[in-house]
Symmetry: C2
Subunit: 203 residues, 2 copies
């Protein structure tokens, strides 16, 4: 039932230690004020390792985004939910928690700054395209499961996933960049959408 | 039926001329590389006027966001559409055009960069909160009109507006920061949502 933390306690390999240091430095300084040096200060091993492995801050951050992608499967607890509707609910719970932990809030701030890089930087754009594709494919797979098991109506899984993905991306954007974001209203309407669009009338 | 351009041809006052110069410079250079000096190069009148009116690039950009807000009503053509469903359709057409004009694409890039400032800058955050509030209120007013005129079901206009707004914000974010954004799929599912959630079953 519980999700695996992004950075589990205990022994870690060098890359994981670098990624954990990057996470902490990103939460603390944001993208604009981040430097390899500041990441190095969060890193227990020799700072020269960072310069050895990465060409600069953006090279390291792109690897960090790739790391998040690899861990995505484990950090969002879906696999142990039974039906498709329950799995969607878990996804919404995970992405729309009314009051996220402080470090998660800081982290989302930094992610929007990284997203904004993708508006004019091809490498960031390629990375976020892969991230979005994975997320959308995964959501589509849940919807497809529901259709195949007969618990959802016969909808187009890709189309529904595109819609849900845009809604959840927009929610994240609004939460991070405005003061009036109403997570409860959004969640209520998402639930209505699932009920009126996906669940059969007789359910 | 047509929208008013953001910057109509013909005589303009000083503020409008400054705003038009800011728009052009923002499209050309993006936020990070924008300077008052670069805005000045797009401005026919004396550059010293810019320094006289604004404390710096961010002060000018915040006024630019305010200007967009004031013009929003005129640039999105809704008022002359008849029913609530048609007005929602106009809004979707405006925000999800499959291939926006090149300068609009550049402009959306810059807007995401400005949005990202709101993650850590209180003045930008306050401005985008006002922008989102206006947009959401306006969408809610359309839904309320539909409910009152009996063309929509008896839904909660604010809740539906929050949902639509998040979906359209997410669409804009994905369009600007990824390569695989599918405007047609999103639009198709938005139309299904309006039909299944807002239009009465007997329609």
């Amino acid at each position: 039932m519980t999700s695996t933390p992004l950075f589990p306690e205990g022994p870690t390999d060098t890359r994981e230690a670098i990624m954990a240091a990057t996470y902490r430095a990103l939460c603390e300084h944001g993208y604009a004020n981040l430097t390899i040096d500041r990441i190095g200060r969060e890193f227990a091993k020799s700072k020269s390792l960072l310069y050895h492995h990465y060409d600069g801050k953006d090279d390291l951050l792109l690897d960090f985004l790739e790391f998040l992608l690899e861990r995505f499967e484990a950090t969002v607890p879906l696999a142990d939910a039974d039906g498709a509707a329950e799995r969607l609910e878990r996804l919404f719970d995970h992405l729309l928690s009314p009051a996220p932990a402080a470090d998660r809030e800081e982290f989302m701030h930094a992610m929007i700054e990284l997203r904004a890089q993708a508006a004019h930087d091809a490498a960031y754009r390629a990375q976020f395209t892969r991230t979005d594709d994975l997320f959308r494919d995964r959501t589509a797979a849940i919807v497809r499961q529901g259709v195949e098991q007969g618990t959802f109506r016969d909808v187009d899984p890709e189309q529904v996933a595109s819609f849900l993905h845009a809604t959840l991306d927009g929610a994240m954007l609004e939460r991070v960049t405005t003061d009036d974001f109403d997570a409860a209203a959004l969640r209520a309407e998402l639930d209505v959408y699932v009920e009126s669009r996906l669940l059969p009338a007789e359910a």
